[in-house]
């Protein structure tokens, strides 16, 4: 049952990922990308990580994609009618094909070698995913967390400085 569900979602993810690059209208590409993000969020749910799923939808589908759609709307990019044919497409597809073969070969060769972590599905279910994440973030990984927040603060201040001509 779960495998079937996984197959359906994977199919949707792949089809929408292909649509991202084949759609002529940029808005339709953006919509397809949102669909891909949704499928990724579904994977997180299947991996017992509901917090990650919610954040994935909120940040990627809800915030970043809104910005992209905004940009497309404001620049008023319409359908690009002229199509260019060159050898770049052939080169790109050859590189893509080799990357695909490479990935598939490595995927079937590899084994899950690293030791299994302390958190099992049952534990996540009883304690809650966000609780476990928060506990680790504020104990074991406190320093990286603080550094990240300072970096983000710098980014916010920087964007305000760049956007305003007169402060």
């Amino acid at each position: 049952m779960e495998t079937l569900f996984f197959a359906i979602i994977s199919l949707m993810a792949i089809v929408s990922a292909i649509l991202v690059i084949t759609c002529k209208n940029p808005i339709n590409s953006a919509l397809a990308l949102i669909m891909t993000f949704f499928c990724l969020a579904t994977y997180y749910v299947m991996l017992d990580a509901p917090f990650m799923a919610a954040v994935q939808v909120m940040v990627y589908a809800g915030a970043i994609m809104v910005l992209i759609v905004f940009t497309i709307m404001l620049l008023n990019i319409r359908v690009n009618a002229t199509q260019k044919h060159s050898h770049k497409i052939a080169l790109g597809s050859i590189i893509g094909l080799f990357t695909l073969i490479n990935t598939v070969v490595l995927l079937f060769k590899s084994q899950p070698s690293s030791p299994v972590g302390p958190y099992t599905g049952e534990m996540i279910k009883s304690l809650g995913h966000s609780e476990l994440l928060g506990r680790d973030m504020f104990t074991t990984f406190l320093l990286p967390f603080e550094i990240t927040s300072i970096l983000l603060l710098v980014a916010i201040v920087g964007s305000v400085v760049l956007a305003k001509k007169k402060i």
């Binding site: 808005i27 909120m58 709307m73």
Partner: protein, 354 residues
């Protein structure tokens, strides 16, 4: 009932489908009659009668409206981006409905010896002996509400009309701004609750005859969340995106027939969702006198609270005039956002010492 699928008895699946249908029908019927109630209530507040002709005191008005909209001609502008134009009403409508999956509308009832929690995305684990629901319920709601903006943006952009585009742009700017304040204001609630699961948040608010409700502990957060949500779903006094006097009808100018009706439904469904979230987070959800002893009372209390809040929305609409756009942005970014941040800090400090 002896058949088992994936280790769970059949009745779980039947109950799941039944819960989905009940929640869906509740929202759909409330949407239909909220339009009627709004016209009637505002009518009486303005010393008019409201709809009177169809049925007794106009009771059949929503059905007449639906039939009328259904038989209207469907027009798609020739310069529109067809796919986005067709999909936009759906994108607007769906997030409003699926938010109801995590809202608990009652306690746990017992059916044929199986315990069934009255919340769509929840089940009773007989081995663990407790109810499991989506333990990131609040985040799920925030994620879904952040998707609501797409319907309006797409509708505004794809219609290829200046009014629509202006309406769409205004709407998206407004929704993004107020989403932030709404999300930050409810952080204070789950700092108090210590959980993101809505079922547990409701449980924590039981006891002391209603004085455990978070509206008494977090009055500022409750007020801010309600106002910000009103702005986020584009209700009056924040209905700038479809300001009739300036923008014809905003993002849905070019829409007709059922597509227009779907935007209308989305607006009302959003209102019901916001009222349900407010009732769950701040007004104790399905809690009330004897709600635990008599499980059937839970949904009744919940619906009563939601309807009261919907009435409040209509009352606000009849009372307050529309905001100006710069005032709206000022209110969102310079008043509500700092207040919400201060509220979080104060809650944190008080929570640390208690």
């Amino acid at each position: 009932m002896g058949i088992e699928i994936l280790g769970l008895p059949m009745i779980y699946y039947i109950a799941m489908v039944a819960k989905v249908l009940v929640a869906f029908l509740f929202v759909l019927l409330t949407v239909a009659y909220a339009t009627y109630a709004e016209r009637k209530i505002i009518g009486h507040m303005q010393v008019r009668l409201g709809p009177m002709r169809t049925g007794w005191h106009g009771l059949l008005q929503p059905i007449a409206d639906g039939v009328k909209l259904f038989f209207k001609e469907e027009i798609i502008p020739s310069q529109a981006s067809t796919f986005a134009f067709l999909i936009a009403p759906l994108v607007a409508l769906i997030p409003a409905f699926i938010t109801f999956a995590v809202i608990p509308f009652g306690g746990t009832i017992e059916l044929f010896g199986y315990k069934i929690p009255l919340q769509v995305a929840a089940y009773y684990d007989t081995a663990a002996g407790q109810v499991f629901d989506v333990n990131v319920g609040v985040l799920y709601i925030l994620a879904m509400s952040s998707l609501g903006v797409y319907g309006i943006v797409l509708a505004g952009w794809s219609s290829n009309s200046k009014y629509s585009l202006m309406g769409g742009l205004r709407a998206s700017a407004q929704m993004i701004s107020y989403e932030l304040s709404a999300a930050l204001s409810i952080i204070a609630v789950f700092m108090l609750a210590g959980t993101l699961s809505l079922g547990k948040i409701v449980e924590l608010q039981s006891g002391f005859g209603g004085f455990e409700w978070y509206i008494f502990k977090q009055p500022l957060a409750a007020l801010m969340f309600f106002i910000c949500s009103l702005a986020e779903i584009n209700r009056t006094p924040f209905d700038l995106p479809e300001a009739e006097t300036e923008l014809v009808s905003g993002f849905c100018t070019e829409y007709s027939s059922m597509k227009y009706a779907m935007f209308f439904m989305a607006e009302y469904a959003n209102m019901i969702t916001v009222c349900a979230i407010t009732a769950t987070l701040f007004l104790g959800g399905w809690n009330g006198p004897f709600a635990v002893a008599v499980p059937i009372l839970g949904p009744i209390y919940f619906v009563a609270k939601v309807y009261f809040l919907i009435f409040l929305c209509m009352w606000i609409r009849a009372t307050v005039p529309r905001y100006r756009y710069d005032q709206l942005m000022h209110l969102g970014w310079k008043v509500f956002l700092p207040l919400a941040l201060v509220n979080i800090v104060v809650t944190g400090i008080i929570g640390y010492f208690i």
